[in-house]
Symmetry: C2
């Protein structure tokens, strides 16, 4: 390969490698050896990638100096783009056809679309970027896609809490909790083996009304000596009589500020995530 | 920006844009306008990216000529790497601690790890790359992560079939099916609004024993006038008395060829996917 081509190929390879391995420290020698390049050329390339990633709002490259050093890609979405994504979602959520019995909103189409889901997951990952998360947790079923999209950008595993106690994965911890809106007693379970003690856990869910399910997950985590370091919900309902989760405990992307079942009027506004993004 | 830098930044941007938008036709003018470059320079860059993507087994760039033309990134994993990924998974699955009651295997750790999951999803996407898929379908709960990982590479939505009929998403189609292994009658449901008529559907599931669940999904699709154009399962059980899905109907990544509950001996081998990859 001629020299110019080699440099171009190296840039393409470094870009794809960084994007595919968020939050991993990649030693500069990896690229230097593969392309037979000096470390100084690699550093030059990295500064180009870094500049473009920041300019395009793709993320941050963190360089760690020294023998054990390297570079780490932190996926980020900038505030302007995040607000734009959320505002567009709010608008879509306001369509009267989305109204479901019990004051829920139909959101499966949005959470089923990989492009949208990736953007929402990236916003979550940006909000909780500094929390040193070990694992993302959710409860089946509708929260699972967003949990994965978020975990994908944080590059950590996902743990799924089951809504029954018929889990067959060995020793299981179950707790009963009260669903805040229906006031019914329900059960959630997690097998011992899926979560290490003392893990730092980010809880993700698609929808929060009174917060009973989220409170249940927080309580369940105590049984694993885990630290809940963040709670992110896609959409929260407003006008909840008695919220079981404190305002400062969770971040929401959108908030149903008004929901009139009779007149089919829905008003959805951006949630409290905006102040958590300074990229 | 000086000229060399501009070209480098353009390469980085084109790479990230292609990776983030699989299966989308991207007009060359998009890049040409953004960087004030001639289309010929863009074409040169694309050939560098194409070469590296193929060399590294990342995927294929398809160029469409003409005024409405552009370039499309098709994510692919090459056969050698795919076999390596699957063989490593087979080895991990053979650990006796994975044996669960009822002849199931513990796999939540593997399907909960985004890095592994992305590789498995990319293998699925490679196998079904030519099928012109509109939507990936799975049944809750354990198949959901893999369905999303696959759909992410195919850039199509995911539809999740529920295991009960208490779905609140409007008009619902429910069918009863017989679980092949337990012989019990069960129900699965899908809301009308989540799937358009005449869709081309790829069914994805994590585990298949007799295939009753998969058969149920196939039957359910008839109610939507949908065409099931592929069935991909992560792991299939061997020694099934009466399989409800024909051999040529599905692709599996791995196959439990031996499972001795008493002696805790598990043998897992690569499935029939290998012949489906010619990248």
């Amino acid at each position: 390969m001629e020299k110019k081509l080699r440099r171009s190929a190296r840039l393409v390879d470094m870009t794809q490698h960084l994007l595919a391995n968020p939050y991993r420290l990649i030693p500069l020698t990896l690229f230097a050896e593969e392309f037979g390049s000096a470390k100084s050329s690699i550093s030059e390339d990295l500064s180009i990638i870094k500049e473009l990633f920041e300019y395009k709002g793709i993320g941050v490259l963190k360089t760690v100096a020294g023998a054990a050093g390297g570079v780490k890609y932190i996926p980020m979405i900038n505030r302007g783009l995040a607000v734009q994504v959320v505002e567009e979602i709010c608008q879509r959520l306001e369509h009267p056809d989305r109204l479901l019995p019990g004051g829920y909103l139909y959101m499966s189409d949005i959470l089923g679309d990989p492009e949208k889901l990736n953007k929402i997951g990236k916003i979550m990952a940006t909000v909780f970027a500094e929390k040193e998360i070990d694992v993302v947790m959710t409860v089946e079923t509708k929260g699972i896609p967003l949990a994965y999209a978020t975990a994908n950008y944080l590059n950590v595993p996902v743990v799924i809490v089951r809504r029954d106690s018929k889990v067959t994965e060995g020793s299981v911890v179950s707790i009963n909790y009260v669903s805040g809106s229906s006031k019914r007693i329900q059960t959630m379970s997690l097998a011992r083996r899926v979560l290490q003690e003392n893990s730092r856990v980010l809880i993700i869910d698609d929808y929060m009304k009174a917060g009973g399910t989220v409170r249940g997950m927080v309580d369940l985590m105590k049984e694993f000596n885990a630290a809940v370091v963040g709670i992110g919900v896609f959409v929260e309902a407003a006008e909840v009589e008695e919220r079981l989760v404190e305002d400062e405990e969770y971040i929401s992307l959108a908030r149903v500020s008004q929901l009139d079942m009779r007149d089919k009027e829905i008003k959805v506004v951006p949630g409290n995530f905006v102040n958590q993004i300074d990229f």
